[in-house]
């Protein structure tokens, strides 16, 4: 190999190394880590919920969305999902233990898939606990694909639609208030507090009232833990909860791939340039 070729290879190698080092630093350091266990959450006690749907109405009101008619009980005939106009819904399940109502909304995962998915960081996990959405979103809807609970919804009818999902009333929380749904709940089925406190509260209720609850706190470990926790008197899998999500935080499914990126960016070019010069010399030998 001639000297200039060596210099070329060496220089390009150095450049690539430097650039991938920068790359890798940003990739590794931006891993989403649950910084503290002290962020806020909501405990949903399904044994207390009476299906009055005032939470739905107050949620719609505080997010300037069409307010549902909560007198209408016909909505309970089928299982509903939150959508772009209703950020939280209450479903009814008829069981041998009577009617059980389950409120669903964004679970505000400790390490959310949607945040890891977003390429412009429009989805953010706030230090107070909520997962929120920002205006710099491109509308690629990768968050919708990545959410284990299938929560983010998009306003398809607008030329400049938004991703709509429960934001745990981020504005209210940061000014010291509790979320709108928690505030209006007449039966105290919803409890707002730091995640540690509500987790203790959930355990306390389970162990202090024997026989009332199934001994499981949904959201304690699901997908690495969520800010919304549920306790229930009836097995969760029969209340349409997803029990197969595992305890691995969703962003971890892509970290393996993301870690390979700087490795490939360093090794591949060096390897390719090496092969190029090897085969080139061989070609010249054959020509001679």
């Amino acid at each position: 190999m001639k000297r200039r070729e060596f210099l070329k290879v060496a220089l390009s190698g150095l450049g690539l190394f430097a650039s991938s080092a920068i790359c890798s630093k940003t990739v590794f350091s931006s891993e989403i880590k649950a910084k503290t266990k002290e962020f806020f959450g909501v405990l949903v006690d399904t044994t207390r919920c009476i299906g009055c749907r005032t939470c739905e109405a107050s949620c719609a009101e505080s997010h300037s969305l069409p307010i549902p008619n909560i007198e209408d009980k016909s909505v309970f005939t089928k299982i509903r999902k939150p959508d772009e106009k209703t950020l939280t819904v209450v479903n009814r399940f008829l069981t041998e233990k009577g009617e059980i109502y389950v409120k669903i909304q964004c679970m505000h995962c400790n390490q959310p898939g949607c945040v890891a998915a977003c390429l412009v960081k429009a989805m953010k996990k706030r230090k107070e606990g909520p997962v929120t959405w920002d205006e710099n979103c491109m509308g690629c809807r990768y968050c919708m694909v990545s959410c284990p609970f299938d929560i983010p919804k998009f306003e398809y009818d607008e030329a400049f639609g938004r991703i709509m999902k429960c934001d745990m009333c981020y504005g209210r929380i940061s000014s010291g208030k509790v979320p709108a749904c928690v505030e209006v709940c007449p039966k105290e089925a919803l409890t707002f507090g730091t995640r540690r406190d509500i987790l203790n509260e959930a355990k306390k209720r389970i162990y202090q009232t024997p026989g009332l609850y199934v001994p499981y706190i949904y959201g304690e470990n699901e997908v690495g833990g969520t800010a919304f926790l549920y306790i229930s008197s009836y097995p969760f899998e029969k209340l349409n909860f997803q029990m197969d999500l595992g305890y691995t935080p969703y962003p971890e499914y892509t970290t393996g791939f993301l870690y390979s990126v700087p490795v490939i960016l360093i090794l591949w070019p060096a390897f390719l340039t090496g092969i190029h010069y090897l085969t080139k010399e061989r070609k010249k030998e054959i020509e001679r």
């Binding site: 001639k2 000297r3 200039r4 070729e5 210099l7 390009s12 940003t26 990739v27 989403i32 999902k81 959508d83 890891a116 998915a117 977003c118 390429l119 412009v120 960081k121 920002d134 710099n136 979103c137 491109m138 509308g139 690629c140 809807r141 990768y142 919708m144 694909v145 990545s146 284990p148 299938d150 998009f154 306003e155 398809y156 009818d157 607008e158 030329a159 400049f160 639609g161 997803q242 197969d244 999500l245 595992g246 969703y250 962003p251 499914y253 892509t254 393996g256 791939f257 993301l258 990126v261 490939i264 960016l265 591949w268 070019p269 390719l272 092969i275 190029h276 085969t279 080139k280 070609k283």
Partner: protein, 450 residues
């Protein structure tokens, strides 16, 4: 006073210089536009079957694209809260990108392995790849719900560096630039810009090396997008090796596409092809078929390993399991054998059929990931089925790409031989570079002597 005056004069001189350069550039630009307008006139017959079929579709599609852009995504489209990604991403991007994979595979074979045999088909493949990327990027643009924010991940209105999609977006952009550089000598030859061609062709190797690294990552990155859809994909399709599978399948998808494209081009652009190209064509196809057979077998082997490791026997008797078998046996193993026998017995037509089957298989595989195995548990009535408007727009994107491909092939040396001056320059360039390297190594000593 005097100093001020001097500085003003210098500034004025600088300004005149800049202005004169600007004027010159404007002239070049106007010249280029005039040339372009002149060249826009079609060569060859206008009333061909291809034109008659595609032109109305393109016109209708353009109209639909414009309305689609102003009335929101739901306008004439079936994307829903359950299926956020429709045909534009599920077909145009997910299928188009592996089909364009021939460009990086052949760049690897020709520039890195120095296998000269495949040089004649390289330019057409790279052109195809480049156009595919440009048009599939436009498909992404159509699919964005907030289109005018498309530049945010590029200009840094927040970098989501831990997002797979962020990587894919950046690699898309960089790879398009790399491919343009790889193809640009042909443009320089067309415009007879000798000096520019020299500069551009000296950048080819760098662009190739960079392009191959980028391709590896974004071909597998497209698969990695589905890693977080763990509970939504059918377990037969979900594995932690999705990125590897996507990468390997992009190799045979790209090569099959090259074979099919070559077959059509040989009929349509025969008059533009050099003797060298036509003479070596069969040998090239057989070589490509060999590559396809090997990579298809590797892919099949990976699939079997993943199947056994995942203990997936339980799913195989369900309808989704049978569909899985159709994909893996019918569209991976069978074309693999067809390619093998095709290249062994030099049966070009068998190879062509195998290439078509492989391409169909890749389409099925990618559509499985984005539509069929995705949320497989929903009843058919809630599944995503594209509207006719979406299909017309999809076809418009593909046909426009073919039109531009034809336009370029009819003008630039894509299949044909490079002009004589470019060949001579290639030799000269090596000498020139050798001299430059020598001079640099001696700290410019040689020129000081003169």
């Amino acid at each position: 006073m005097r100093k001020e005056f001097e500085s003003i004069t210098i500034a004025r001189n600088g300004l005149t210089l800049a202005l004169s350069k600007l004027v010159l550039l404007t002239f070049y630009f106007i010249g280029f536009l005039v040339l372009l307008i002149k060249e826009l006139k079609p060569k060859g017959k206008v009333l061909t079957a291809f034109n008659v079929i595609t032109l109305p579709i393109i016109l209708l599609g353009t109209y639909l694209i414009i309305t689609h852009m102003f009335y929101g995504l739901s306008h004439g489209s079936n994307v829903s809260q359950d299926f956020p990604w429709g045909i534009f991403i599920g077909f145009n991007v997910m299928v188009g990108v592996p089909f364009a994979g021939g460009a990086y595979v052949l760049a690897f074979v020709v520039y890195i392995l120095n296998a000269e045999k495949y040089h004649p088909i390289l330019r057409a493949t790279i052109l195809n790849g480049f156009l595919a990327y440009v048009f599939y990027a436009s498909a992404i643009f159509l699919d964005l719900g907030r289109k005018w924010n498309i530049l945010n991940p590029i200009i840094g209105n927040e970098f989501g560096v831990n997002s797979v999609l962020f990587l894919v977006a950046w690699h898309f952009l960089l790879y398009m630039i790399a491919q343009f550089i790889e193809f640009s000598p042909a443009i320089a030859e067309w415009l007879e810009l000798k000096r520019l061609r020299k500069i551009l062709s000296s950048m080819t190797l760098g662009a190739c090396v960079f392009g191959i690294a980028l391709s590896t990552l974004h071909q597998s990155g497209l698969g990695a997008l589905f890693m977080m859809a763990k509970n939504k994909l059918h377990p037969l399709w979900y594995t932690e090796f999705i990125p590897v599978l996507f990468f390997v399948s992009s190799i045979f998808a790209g090569l099959s596409c090259v074979i099919v494209e070559g077959t059509i081009s040989k009929k349509v652009f025969r008059h533009r092809m050099s003797e060298e190209y036509l003479k070596n064509y069969d040998d090239i196809v057989i070589g490509l078929a060999r590559g396809c057979a090997i990579t298809l077998f590797v892919y099949f082997f990976l699939k079997v390993l993943i199947f056994i490791h995942g203990k997936s026997w339980v799913y195989i008797s369900s309808p989704m399991g049978i569909w899985y078998l159709v994909e893996v046996l019918g569209f991976v193993l069978i074309p693999c054998l067809m390619f093998y026998y095709g290249q062994r017995d030099r049966r070009i037509n068998l190879i062509r059929v195998a290439a078509l089957v492989t391409m169909l298989g890749v389409i099925i595989n990618r559509i499985n990931y984005s539509m069929i195995a995705y949320k497989w548990y929903l009843p058919l009535s809630e599944k995503y089925i594209p509207t006719w408007q979406e299909i017309v727009i999809t076809l418009t994107i593909v046909f426009t790409q073919l039109w531009i491909f034809r336009w370029v092939v009819n003008r630039m040396p894509v299949y044909g031989e490079v002009p004589e001056w470019a060949k001579e320059k290639e030799l000269e360039e090596e000498e020139y570079q050798a001299e430059l390297g020598f001079t640099m190594a001696n700290g410019g000593q040689r020129y000081r002597d003169y």
